[in-house]
C-alpha cells in the first residue's frame, strides 16, 4: 500500500471509530452527570471524605473546591517528587526543587510538561502514586468544570452548579477508570509493555552499556492519552517503542486522545436538551481539527520535496501521515504526547501544531477544557454577532451582558497574555535566551512554543529548548498554573452568573446557535481573535522561516 493510501485509510478508520463512539459515549457522559444515584464505591468515598453528595454548590464554592483540591495536589506531588529518594521503590532518580515544582504544577494542571526525563527523573512510586493519580484527577477536574458550565446554562435562577466532589468522583470512577482499563488492555494486546521488572542492563554492539528501564507502562499510557495528559513514562514519550510499538497502537493512542473531547459536545447537547446545540459545537471542533490536519499533513508531505516528505524526527514505523495525525491531535487537545519531534517538522507543520495550541485548544481541546473553551468562543460569537439580530445577545436563553462578557473576556485574554508576556520576557533574560538551540526564526518558534504549550496546558515540547533550568521551570510553571486556573475561575463565574438567570424562551427572534452558520461564525471568531493576537509573532517565527 502506498504511503498516501495507508495514511488516508488510517484517518478514515479513526474518523469512523470516533463517529461511532461519540454518540453512545456522549449519552453515557450525560447520564453520569445527571443521574441521582451513587455507586457503592462512591458512597464509601463520600462517607470517608465527609462529602454530602446531595448538597449543591454555588459557583464560588465550586471554584474554591477546585482550587483547594488542586492546591493540595500540587503540594503533595511536589513533596513526593522532592523526597522520592527517601521513599520506597527508589531507583536513584532525583529532581531539583525547581524541577519538582514545575513537575507538580505540570501534572496537576493537566499539562504534563516534563522538564525531567521520564525514566530517570521519577521513581516508580512517583510515577504510579503521583503522576498516574494526577493523570486521572486532573482530567476529571476539567470535565467537572465543563459540566458545571453546562449546568449553569441549564439552571433556572437557582445559581447552583452541582457538587464538585461528586463530579470529580463520577468523572474518575465511572468515566476515566473503565475506559482507561479497556484502553490499557488494548494497548497491551498491541505490544505495549506492563511489568515491574528491574531495569535490564545490556551490552551494546559498540561494547557500551545501556540501562533499559521498564515498568507499568500500558496502564499509564492509556490514561496519559485518554485524559489528554501526555506525560510519557519514557522521555521519548509515544515515540518510544515500549510506549507505542506499532501503527496499531499509534492509532489506538490517537483514538484515546480524541474520544472524550469529541464526545463531550454530544453530552452537552443532551444535558441542555437540544442535541443540535451539540452538533454545532462538534462541527466547530471537527472543522478546526480537520483543517489543521490537512495543513500539517500537506506541509510535511511537501517538505523536503521527496515522496516520503520530511522524515527527520519521525519514526519510520509511523511515517509522515500518522506522525502528522498524532501531532495534530495532540496539540489540538491538551495532550502534548508526541510520537515525532515537532522541532523537525517543516516551518508550516510545526507552526500548525503551534497554532493549534494558540487557538486555545478548542478543536476539540482537552477533556472538559476543550468544551468549555469552545463554549466561551460560542459566547464571544454570540456577543459580537448576536447584536446583529437586534436583541441583547443570548445563548440558550441566557443573556450575555456586562458580567458574562467580562468573564468570557477574562478567559480569552489570559492565555494570550501569558504566552506573549512569557515569551517576550524570556527573550530579555539571558539565561532563558541561552536555552534556545536554534538561531533566527526557528529559535523564536522554540521559545514561543514552550510558553504556548505551558500556558495552554498542552505539555508538548517543540524540542531544542533546554527547559530544565530555574528561570524556565518557574516561569513555565507559573504559566501552567495561571493558564489553568484563571480560565477555570472565569468559566465557573460565568456559569454562576448564567445559573442565576432566567432561561428565556426561544423564538424566531432569537439568534440560533445550532446552525452551520453559527458553527462557521465560531470558527471565524476563533481564527480572527487568535490571528489578530499572534500574527506578528507568527510572522517573525514560522512564517518568516517558511518564506525564507
Amino acid at each position: 500500500m502506498s504511503e498516501q493510501a495507508s495514511g488516508l485509510l488510517t484517518v478514515a478508520v479513526l474518523v469512523a471509530a470516533l463517529a461511532a463512539v461519540h454518540v453512545p459515549l456522549g449519552d453515557y457522559i450525560a447520564r453520569v452527570f445527571s443521574s441521582d444515584k451513587d455507586l457503592a464505591v462512591e458512597r464509601a468515598f463520600y462517607r470517608l471524605s465527609g462529602v454530602n453528595p446531595q448538597s449543591q454548590q454555588r459557583w464560588s464554592r465550586y471554584a474554591v473546591s477546585v482550587l483547594a483540591f488542586s492546591g493540595v495536589s500540587v503540594v503533595a506531588l511536589w513533596a513526593l517528587c522532592t523526597w522520592q529518594g527517601r521513599l520506597p521503590l527508589d531507583r536513584g532518580a532525583t529532581m531539583d526543587w525547581h524541577t519538582a515544582i514545575n513537575t507538580a504544577i505540570s501534572f496537576v494542571t493537566n499539562t504534563n510538561w516534563q522538564s525531567y526525563a521520564g525514566e530517570s527523573g521519577a521513581s516508580a512510586l512517583v510515577q504510579t502514586l503521583g503522576l498516574a493519580v494526577q493523570n486521572f484527577v486532573s482530567a476529571a477536574v476539567g470535565i467537572a468544570v465543563a459540566v458545571a458550565l453546562i449546568r449553569g446554562l441549564v439552571a433556572r435562577r437557582t445559581g447552583l452548579l452541582g457538587n464538585f466532589w461528586v463530579d470529580l468522583t463520577r468523572a474518575t470512577v465511572r468515566l476515566l477508570l473503565p475506559i482507561a482499563f479497556l484502553g490499557a488492555v488494548l494497548l497491551l494486546a498491541g505490544g505495549v509493555i506492563q511489568d515491574l521488572a528491574a531495569p535490564q542492563v545490556v551490552e551494546t554492539i559498540t561494547g557500551g552499556h545501556q540501562t533499559i528501564e521498564s515498568g507499568l507502562v500500558s496502564s499509564q499510557e492509556a490514561i496519559k492519552l485518554l485524559g489528554t495528559n501526555g506525560g510519557g513514562f519514557f522521555n521519548a514519550n509515544s515515540a518510544h517503542p515500549f510506549e507505542n510499538p506499532n501503527g496499531f497502537t499509534n492509532l489506538v493512542e490517537i483514538f484515546l486522545i480524541l474520544m472524550i473531547p469529541f464526545s463531550l459536545p454530544r453530552a452537552y447537547g443532551r444535558l441542555v436538551g437540544d442535541k443540535r446545540q451539540g452538533y454545532a459545537v462538534l462541527g466547530f471542533m471537527a472543522f478546526l481539527w480537520t483543517s489543521m490536519l490537512v495543513v500539517i499533513t500537506w506541509a510535511e508531505q511537501a517538505a523536503a520535496g521527496s515522496p516520503t516528505g520530511a522524515m527527520e524526527g519521525k519514526e519510520v514505523r509511523f511515517g509522515v501521515w500518522s506522525s502528522a495525525l498524532f501531532a495534530t491531535s495532540t496539540t489540538a487537545t491538551s495532550t502534548g504526547a508526541v510520537d515525532s519531534w515537532h522541532e523537525s517538522f517543516s516551518p508550516i507543520g510545526g507552526g500548525g501544531a503551534l497554532t493549534n495550541m494558540l487557538l486555545g485548544e478548542v478543536g476539540p481541546g482537552g477533556v472538559g477544557s476543550g468544551l468549555y473553551g469552545a463554549l466561551v468562543v460560542a459566547i464571544l460569537a454570540v456577543f459580537i454577532a448576536g447584536l446583529m439580530v437586534g436583541r441583547t445577545p443570548e445563548i440558550l436563553g441566557k443573556q450575555v451582558g456586562r458580567k458574562e462578557i467580562t468573564y468570557a473576556a477574562l478567559y480569552s485574554i489570559t492565555t494570550p497574555a501569558l504566552v506573549l508576556l512569557g515569551t517576550g520576557a524570556a527573550l530579555l533574560v539571558s539565561g532563558a535566551k541561552g536555552a534556545i538551540l536554534a538561531t533566527g526564526p526557528h529559535g523564536l518558534t522554540e521559545i514561543l512554543y514552550a510558553y504556548a504549550s505551558a500556558s495552554n496546558n498542552n505539555g508538548s515540547a517543540f524540542g531544542g529548548l533546554s527547559a530544565d533550568q530555574p528561570y524556565l521551570n518557574l516561569t513555565l510553571g507559573a504559566c501552567m498554573l495561571l493558564g489553568r486556573f484563571l480560565p477555570i475561575i472565569a468559566v465557573l463565574a460565568l456559569a454562576g452568573s448564567f445559573a442565576a438567570q432566567h432561561r428565556r424562551p426561544t423564538t424566531d427572534g432569537t439568534m440560533p446557535t445550532h446552525t452551520p452558520l453559527f458553527a462557521g461564525l465560531m470558527v471565524g471568531v476563533a481564527l480572527l481573535v487568535t490571528g489578530l493576537t499572534f500574527l506578528p509573532v507568527l510572522a517573525l517565527g514560522p512564517l518568516a522561516e517558511a518564506l525564507s
Binding site: 454577532a385 441583547t392 456586562r402 467580562t406 497574555a417 489578530l532 517573525l540
Partner: protein, 687 residues
C-alpha cells in the same frame, strides 16, 4: 380606558436630515470635536485614550527626528481622534437643535398661586409641589400638574407638534397638563405635580441633549469587550520589540504606535456613543420620548406586545360590514331603507352605514326636507325618520326594534332576531331596520352588521412581528366571543377579553416569569402599575401624569400603534452597534497584511510575500493603513446616525445577511480601501 387617536400633521421637531445635509452638519460640529481632544475627556474611553497617547508619542518622535513620514503619521493619528469626536459632536449637535426649540417654549411666565389669603403672583420657578395655580385663556401653564377644577382647551403644539387643541378637565384620565403649553379657552385650577427644573419639558431637553445620557447595559458590555481587545492588541504590539530583537531588528516606535492604533477597535470605539445618541434621536423624531437608553434597548428585546384593541388594532368605531335582507324584501330595497334611516344619524356608525350602502346603491340621497327625524334615546334605543308619505323608518338595537315590530303586529321579527343572534355570535353588532306606514304594522326588513374594523395593514404587521419572534396579545374589554372574532381577523397570537387592570398586571407578570420582556401602552391612572411593571411601558401624552410617571417612554402623538415602531427602533439600535463592531474587528485583517510585511521585510525579505495588496513601500503601506483607519470613521458616521437598515426578518435571516454585509464586507473593504489610498499616498514625499 379611552384612547385618543391623534395623527400629527405638523411637527415642531426637526425632521431627520437627508444624507447630503448630514455632511453639512460636520462643519459646525468641528469646534466641538476639537474641544474633545482634551485627554481628560478621553480617559474613560480606553480605545480613544490609547489613540491619544499614540498620537502624542508620534508627535514627540516626529519632533525629535523630523521626517515627512513621521509628521504624516502623527497628523493622521490626531485626525483619527478628531474624527472620532466628530461623530459624537454631530450626534449631540442634532440633539442641541431640538433642545433649543424646546427651550424657547419653556415657561418663563409668572404663576398665579392660590393661597388661603387669595391669589398671589410668583415666578414659575418658585412653584412647589402641591401648589394650586390659576390659568386662564391665553396664559401659559407654569408647570406640570393635574387639573383639579374646571375644563379648558389647551394648545399642546409646543411639545407634540399637534396643532389641534385638546380638552383638559378636572378628574378622570384627561386631567394632566404640561408646563409650557397654552390654555386657549376657559379657566382652570392646576395642582402642581413636578418641581421646577424637573418638569416634562426639562426632562425632554436633558434627554435630547444627551446631558443625562447614561451608558446602557449593552453599551457597557460592548465597552468591556472593546477594552479587552485593546489590552490584547497592546500586548501583541508591545511584545514585538523582543520578538523582532531575537532576529536583531529594532522596529521603530513610530511604526509600533501606528500599528497599535490600526489594530485597536477605533471605528466602533469612535462611533459607539454616537450610535446611542442617534438611537434616542430617532425615537424623538417619531415624537416618542424614552426616559432612558435602557428602555430603548429593552424595546429591541421585547418578545410580547400587549396591544389595546380599540385604536390600536381596530379603528376606534364599529363600521357597517354587511346588510342582510329579512323576509321577501329585495336587498336593494333594504339598502335604500338602511341608507335613509341613517341619514340623520351623525354617529360614526351611522355615517359608516350611509357610506357603505351608498357604495352598493351607487348613489347618495339627501334627507327629504319634509321628513321628521326621530332622534336616538336611551329609552327607545332606536332612531329613525318619519317620511312625508307616512312611512315610518326605524333602526336600532335588535331587541328593541323586534319588540316594536311584534307589538305592532308586523312580520319578520323572528327571522331578524335570528340573524341578529348570528351576527352577535360572530362578534359583530346587529342593528335591525324596520319600516311601515303610520298606523299599520311595522315589518322588520333587514339587519345591518356592524363590526370592529381592523386597521388596514395590521394583519401584515402582526405576521411580521410573528416572524421577528414577537408574540402579540390583544387587550380588550369586550366579551370573549367578540374578542376572539377580532383576534382571529387581525391575526394576533392571543387575546385577553373583559380585561381589568389587574388581569393586565397578571398577564405581564406571568409573561415575565417565563423570561419574556413585555411592552405595552397605556394612558389611564389605573394603567400605571402595569406600565411600571412592563419592560417597555409607553404612556400616551394625553394620559394622566400617573401613567406618564410610571411608563419609561411617552408618545407625544398618543398613537398606540407606534409601539411596533418603537420595537423596530430598539432592534435597529442594537443591530447598528453589532454591525459596526463586526465591521471594525474584521477590518484588522487587512491592516495586518499592510503593516506586518512593511515592518519586518527588512530583516525577513521573505515576508514580502504577505504584501498581497502590492503596496508601494513600507512607509506608504503604514501610512495608508493609518489613513484608512481614520477615514473609515468619517465614512461610517452617516450610517451610525441613520442606523443600519432594518428589515423585519427572522433572526437567522438577519444574521446571515448582516454577517455577509458587515463581516465579509469588513474583511474585504479595507483591502480595497488601503490599496486605493496607497495609490495616492505613494505620490507624497518621503514614501
Amino acid at each position: 380606558m379611552t384612547v385618543q387617536l391623534a395623527s400629527p400633521t405638523t411637527q415642531s421637531m426637526p425632521k431627520e436630515p437627508a444624507g447630503s445635509s448630514l455632511w453639512r452638519q460636520f462643519g459646525p460640529a468641528l469646534p466641538g470635536a476639537a474641544a474633545k481632544l482634551d485627554p481628560r475627556r478621553l480617559w474613560h474611553q480606553p480605545v480613544l485614550f490609547v489613540v491619544w497617547v499614540s498620537a502624542a508619542l508620534t508627535t514627540v518622535l516626529a519632533g525629535v527626528h523630523p521626517s515627512w513620514f513621521a509628521w504624516l503619521v502623527a497628523i493622521w493619528l490626531w485626525a483619527t481622534i478628531l474624527f472620532a469626536n466628530l461623530a459624537e459632536s454631530v450626534a449631540e449637535g442634532r440633539g442641541k437643535a431640538q433642545a433649543d426649540s424646546l427651550r424657547r417654549t419653556r415657561a418663563t411666565a409668572t404663576a398665579r398661586r392660590l393661597t388661603p389669603a387669595g391669589e398671589e403672583e410668583i415666578a414659575a420657578a418658585d412653584l412647589r409641589l402641591g401648589d394650586h395655580v390659576v390659568v386662564e385663556a391665553g396664559q401659559v401653564i407654569p408647570g406640570d400638574g393635574d387639573v383639579v377644577e374646571g375644563i379648558a382647551t389647551v394648545d399642546e403644539s409646543a411639545i407634540t407638534g399637534e396643532s389641534a387643541p385638546v380638552v383638559r378637565e378636572a378628574g378622570g384620565d384627561r386631567c394632566a397638563v404640561t408646563g409650557g403649553t397654552t390654555v386657549l379657552s376657559d379657566r382652570i385650577v392646576i395642582q402642581i405635580t413636578a418641581k421646577p427644573g424637573e418638569t416634562f419639558i426639562d426632562r425632554m431637553i436633558a434627554l435630547v441633549e444627551g446631558a443625562e445620557r447614561q451608558k446602557t447595559p449593552n453599551e457597557i458590555a460592548l465597552g468591556i469587550l472593546l477594552t479587552v481587545l485593546t489590552i490584547i492588541f497592546l500586548l501583541a504590539v508591545s511584545t514585538i520589540p523582543p520578538f523582532a530583537g531575537w532576529s536583531g531588528q529594532r522596529p521603530s516606535v513610530l511604526v509600533l504606535a501606528a500599528l497599535l492604533v490600526c489594530l485597536i477597535p477605533t471605528t466602533i470605539g469612535a462611533l459607539l456613543s454616537a450610535i446611542g445618541i442617534a438611537g434616542m434621536d430617532r425615537l424623538v423624531q417619531r415624537n416618542v420620548l424614552a426616559m432612558s437608553g435602557r428602555a430603548v434597548e429593552a424595546a429591541g428585546d421585547v418578545s410580547t406586545l400587549l396591544l389595546d384593541k380599540t385604536g390600536t388594532i381596530t379603528l376606534g368605531n364599529r363600521q357597517a360590514a354587511d346588510v342582510v335582507a329579512v323576509g321577501r324584501n329585495d336587498v336593494n330595497a333594504v339598502h335604500r331603507l338602511a341608507h335613509l334611516s341613517s341619514l340623520a344619524d351623525e354617529t360614526p356608525e351611522g355615517r359608516s352605514i350611509v357610506t357603505w350602502t351608498a357604495e352598493r346603491l351607487g348613489m347618495t340621497m339627501d334627507t327629504p326636507s319634509d321628513a321628521v327625524v326621530v332622534p336616538f334615546t336611551a329609552q327607545t334605543r332606536m332612531s329613525g325618520l318619519d317620511l312625508a308619505d307616512g312611512t315610518q323608518l326605524r333602526k336600532g338595537a335588535a331587541a328593541s326594534v323586534c319588540r316594536l315590530v311584534r307589538d305592532s303586529g308586523g312580520s319578520g321579527a323572528d327571522e331578524a332576531s335570528a340573524v341578529a343572534d348570528r351576527i352577535s355570535a360572530a362578534g359583530g353588532t346587529p342593528l335591525v331596520v324596520a319600516a311601515g306606514a303610520t298606523g299599520a304594522p311595522i315589518d322588520a326588513v333587514g339587519v345591518i352588521h356592524l363590526k370592529d374594523v381592523v386597521k388596514p395593514g395590521m394583519t401584515e404587521r402582526f405576521a411580521q412581528l410573528r416572524n421577528m419572534g414577537i408574540r402579540t396579545v390583544m387587550i380588550t374589554g369586550d366579551n370573549p366571543l367578540t374578542a376572539k372574532a377580532i383576534a382571529d381577523e387581525a391575526g394576533v397570537d392571543d387575546f385577553l377579553a373583559e380585561a381589568t387592570p389587574e388581569d393586565k398586571m397578571r398577564l405581564i407578570k406571568s409573561e415575565q416569569e417565563g423570561g419574556r420582556l413585555v411592552a405595552m401602552t397605556g394612558d389611564g391612572t389605573n394603567d400605571a402599575p402595569a406600565l411600571a411593571q412592563a419592560d417597555v411601558g409607553v404612556a400616551m401624552n394625553t394620559g394622566t401624569s400617573a401613567a406618564k410617571e410610571a411608563g419609561n417612554m411617552v408618545d407625544l402623538d398618543s398613537d398606540p400603534t407606534k409601539l411596533i415602531d418603537i420595537v423596530a427602533i430598539g432592534k435597529q439600535l442594537l443591530i447598528t452597534r453589532g454591525a459596526l463592531t463586526t465591521f471594525s474587528i474584521a477590518n484588522d485583517l487587512a491592516k495586518y497584511f499592510a503593516i506586518i510585511p512593511a515592518m519586518f521585510v527588512a530583516s525577513h525579505p521573505g515576508l514580502s510575500a504577505l504584501n498581497i495588496m502590492g503596496l508601494h513601500s513600507s512607509n506608504s503601506a503604514i501610512l495608508s493603513a493609518v489613513i484608512f483607519n481614520a477615514l473609515i470613521i468619517v465614512a461610517l458616521i452617516p450610517l451610525s446616525l441613520k442606523g443600519v437598515r432594518y428589515r423585519p426578518l427572522r433572526a437567522d435571516q438577519l444574521l446571515a445577511r448582516n454577517i455577509l454585509v458587515y463581516g465579509l464586507g469588513g474583511v474585504i473593504a479595507p483591502f480595497i480601501g488601503i490599496k486605493l489610498i496607497d495609490l495616492l499616498v505613494q505620490l507624497l514625499p518621503g514614501m
